[in-house]
Structure formats: C-alpha cells, structure tokens
Amino acid sequence: MKKTLIDDQYAYGFHKPESYVFKSKRGLDEGVIQNISWHKSEPSWMLEFRKKSYEIYRKIQLPTWGGDLSNIKFDDIYYYLKPLQNRAKSWKDLPPDIKDTYDRIGIPEAEKKFLSGVSAQYESEVVYKSIQSMLSKKGVIFLDMDSALRQRPDIVKKYFGTLIPPHDNKFAALNSSVWSGGSFVYVPPGVHVELPLQAYFRINAANMGQFERTLIVADEGSFVHYVEGCTAPIYTTDSLHSAVVEIFVGKGARVRYTTIQNWSTNVYNLVTKRARVDEEGVMEWVDGNLGSKLTMKYPSVYLVGRKSHGEVLSIAYAGRGQHQDAGGKMIHIAPETTSQIISKSVSAKGGRTSYRGLVQISERAKNAKSRVVCDALILDESSRSDTYPTMKIDASDAKMEHEATVSKIGDEQLFYLESRGINKGQAESMIVNGFIEPIVKELPLEYAVEMNRLIQLQMEGSVG
C-alpha cells in the first residue's frame, strides 16, 4: 500500500488564483479600520466599536502562557479582503473559480443532502448563501454577519460584544477591530431547527488573516445545531486566523456548536468562543482540532441560569511541527448547574498537545456538579503531551471530579491485533480511531467519515 504523509502532501493543498475587488494594505492602523468600515457601509456605532477595540488591542500584551506566538508577523498581514462586489443569490451565479474551490471541498454534496442552509466564506466575506424556505418560514434568521448588521441592527446591537468584550484578550480585541464575515443565527422561541446549519470557511491568500465573527441567539425553548468546518490550502508564509464566537442560550433552549478545524500547518488559530446559558438551557461544544501550526482555543460556557448544563467534547491531533493547546472552561454561577468536559488528544511525529481548562464553581452555585476527563495518547518518542486543568471550588456542596491519563498505545492491544494478521500501521490507526470514537460519534455523519479518514491518513505516515 502506498503511504501518504499528510505533512508532505497536504490533503486539501490546492491554491486558487486570488481575485479581489478590494485588498487592504499590509499591517494595521486606524486608516485600515476606517476603510473596512467604509467598504461595508457600517453604522457609526460599529465604526466606534472598531476604533475603541483597536485602542484596547494596542494596549494589551500577548499572552505569555500557552503556545509560542513570537513568530506571528502582525505587520505582514492583510486585515481585509473583499472578493466580489455582490453576493451571489444562488449556486449558479457564483464565479467558476470560486465554485470550483467549493466543489473540491464537497459543498454541492452537502447541498444535495438537504442541509438546511449553506453559508460559505471565501476570503473575508460570505459570497454564497442559500437558506431553504423552511428556515425563513419558521422565523429563523441565518445570515452572514455583515448582512445581519444591516438587516437586524436591533438584535446585533443588543448582543454584539457583550459576552466577549474587546478587553477580554488581545485576539478578541484584534477581531473586534477588524472583524469581517462570520455567521449570525437567531432562532425564535420554541423553534427546533432539525437539520444542522453549516458554514464553510476558507482562506485563500498568503499572509491574510481571517477574523470572522459569529453570533448565535437561541430564544426560549429553541434548538439549533451549528456546524463550522474549515479546510485551507497551504501557503508559503504564516497565516493568522482569529475568530470570535458568542452564543446566547435562552431559557430551556439547547445549542450545539460543532467545529472541525483542519487549517494547513502554517496557520495560527487563536479563537475565543463563549456561550451564556440561562435557566435549564443546554450548551454543547464539539471541537475537533486537526490542523494549524498552533491552536489556542478554549470554548467556554457561563452557566448563569438555574439547572443549566454545559458540555465540551474535544479532540486534538498534533503531528509534525504542530501544537494543539485546546480545552474548555465551565463557569458555574447558578444553583444546580452541571457540566462535563471530555478531551481526547493524540500527539505524533514530534507534535505537542496540551489540554488547558478551567472549572469554577462559585459560592452561589449550590449543588453544582462537574466532571472533567482528559485522555492523551503519545505515539512516539519525539512527541509531547501536557495537561493543565484548573479547578476552583467555592461552594461546599459542589461535586467536582477530574481524571486525566497520558499513555502510549498498549502493547497488548497491538499484539492482539497483529496476531489477527493486521499490520502494525493499520492496527495503530484502528486503536487511535477507537480512542477518539466517543467524540467522533457525536459528529454529523459526513464529518465523522472525514475525521476517520484524516486520522487514518495521518497515522499511515506515522509508522514508517
């Protein structure tokens, strides 16, 4: 069998010629921010918000913990690109080269499968979007963030930047000042969106940062599953991706947010994701990190309503030159709140995975319960795995459990499979797929298939 090395031949490593209507100059100053806002014809409060955020961005230092951020060349980045004058109304109206890009990552198939809406991001702006009439009949709003700002300023202004203010961290401040694209979802009370809402993100220009901004508001008793998947072509220089995702889960509502991150291995993926959950609401983050050079991402849930529940299911794979610093945060501030974090990570070929997390149970959170489980596999001598969970418990009737295990693939498991005539490479990839199975089965089918294939591809390269 021919061995494939994902590091040598990136699975989605194609590169389309760039076509833009507008491209900002390299680097960032107030002029660039004004330009972005002008190109988008934004209301003045948004321009003010951007300017204020930029001031904050300049004052905040880079985090000193986590991964190595010293190689990001902030002055070399294009902070905004506008690919097309007008948004295409349907699939047919898309220019052929963009259509071709999507064909190769399989959007038409997704469409055929009656996915309820596809919003795809080419460069910094959403150029293609289709919402089935079913969604609008139910009153669900699914727009790109720029359109939402124009069409529903009332909802956007009420929630935007309230959960993740620009002061939160340097990258949240950066995103707040130069954000572009991303999705906006509003689900009215009692409405269940049965099919997952999907958005494909893509970056296609060397040295271009992508700063999408997503806001999801699920009103009382509603349900929505949002899926974000990323594949990106390979570049010659480092690229930065820094998104902000804010989610508001109303009383008794449930939101699931699934991400498969598969950036090429020169992308810095520094993302802030946070959800706020009201009474008896449920928030679930399903987070898969496979690609990128460095990922720092800790989806958080603020449990502010009685009996609310938060969950993070996380998979990370770090291969050659990669550092996955991922985890989850649960902040319990209301009574009877519950949470669970399950993390599975695999490091191989010199890669490094770190689980970093926080569970905080405040004095007011009577009878809160939380469970954190982190399992890590190290596949060879040159790889590394870290676990940094933090637990702060200020309520004396809170129940907190944490377990973490780091180990290699069991010799006995390998021996058993080899004794059945399975070669070592296949056996190892079977064991790894079994290891991440509890989380993969939570993914929508096509992602689960893709995930298993990717792991197989990476594993085949890892045992020479």
Binding site: I378, Y388, T390, K392, E401, H402, S407
Partner: protein
C-alpha cells in the same frame, strides 16, 4: 526492597522540602497537618535513579480560618521510576485549600509510572478548594494519570449509616475516617499509621 519512611508533621508557616532520589529504594514521604492557620508547603521530588519508587501521602485537616497552600512537583529523570501521590483533605467551616501539583516526565525517563490524586471532602459552609494538577510528558512509553475529586459527604451514604442505627455525628466521623483510610494505608510502618489515626481521631 526496603522501604524508607519520611514523615513531616507540619505546623504554621512556609516550608520547602526537596528530595533527590539517587538509589533504587522504596520511599514514602508523608506530609500531615492538623488544625493549622496559615501554611504554605512546597514539595519537590526528583527521581534520578532507575527503578526508584516514591509514594507521597498528604493528610490535611482544615477548620475555621485555616488557609493551606500545597505545591508538589514529581520529576521523573530516570527510566523505570514510579511515583504515587495521594493528597486527602477534609475542609470544614470556611477552610481554604489551594493545591497545585505537577508531574514532569523527562525524555530519558521511559517506562515511567506516575500517579497523582487529590481528594477534598467539604463539610459545613464556606469552604474553598482549588485544585490545579498538571502533567508535562516528554517521553512516550509512560503511564501518567491524575485525578481530583472535590465534594461534600454524600447524603445517601450518611442516610445508609443512620438506617443502621449509627448516630449522625458518628456517621460523619466514620465518613471522615473512611476518607483518610486509603492515604494512611499507603504508609507501610504500622507504628506511624497508628500515630496518624490517633491524630485524625482527636481532631474530629
């Protein structure tokens, strides 16, 4: 293999202990503190000899206004080394316990088996526990595990004991003793075990 016991009965103040294990022996290090006010302990253990085995036992009983900080570091520098840490606390009526513990396995230390566990039992109101364990693993052929549990006495278990005719006070005492049992049992010397039990019983 002979076991060596090192016992530290700790009183108020700042304490730093560091051990370099340079022979292939079994060591048990016991840190115990009862009814202290302000306490800050750092314990570092370096396993530098192949085949060394270290057990670290922590027993802390904190009452009103006790404020205990514990930092532990288990560093595996040589292959085939084993470390096993168990820290048990009972925190009542506003006691504060801050724990951070790290296991680090250096590249050379293949076949390491490292374990770290922290269990905190919360009694009464206003107690605080922070648990900050971490693992840094640079070798691949290892087994490293840590666990942490913090919570109150299970009312179901109390109810069970009461249904057997045991008074609520004795039931609670039994639960606290039971909480410390596995930690005390890690000490191989029966004389030291008895001393520890005496101390625990007199405190509760």
């Amino acid at each position: 293999m002979k076991t060596k016991n090192i016992i530290q009965n700790i009183t108020n103040g700042v304490h730093e202990y560091s051990y370099q294990i340079k022979d292939k022996k079994n060591y048990t290090i016991v840190l115990a503190a009862f009814s202290v006010q302000k306490l800050d302990i750092s314990l570092s253990v370096y396993l530098a000899a192949p085949g060394a085995v270290v057990s670290i036992v922590g027993i802390f009983l904190g009452g009103k206004s006790s404020d205990v900080h514990l930092h532990t570091l288990q560093v595996h520098q040589a292959p085939n080394t084993t470390s096993n840490l168990l820290v048990k606390t009972v925190l009542s009526d506003g006691a504060t316990f801050n724990y951070d513990g790290r296991i680090r396995v250096e590249k050379l230390a293949q076949k390491t088996d490292a374990y770290q566990r922290n269990e905190n039992l919360l009694i009464g109101v206003g107690s605080h526990a922070t648990s900050d364990p971490s693992l840094e693993i640079l070798a691949n052929d290892v087994r490293c595990t840590h666990g942490s549990i913090t919570g109150p006495i299970d009312p179901e278990e109390l109810w069970y004991l009461e249904s057997r005719g045991i008074s609520l006070t004795s039931a609670k005492q039994l639960m606290v003793e039971g909480h410390f049992l596995s930690a005390v049992n890690l000490v191989s010397d029966s004389q030291i075990r008895d001393q520890l039990w005496q101390k625990i019983r007199s405190e509760i």
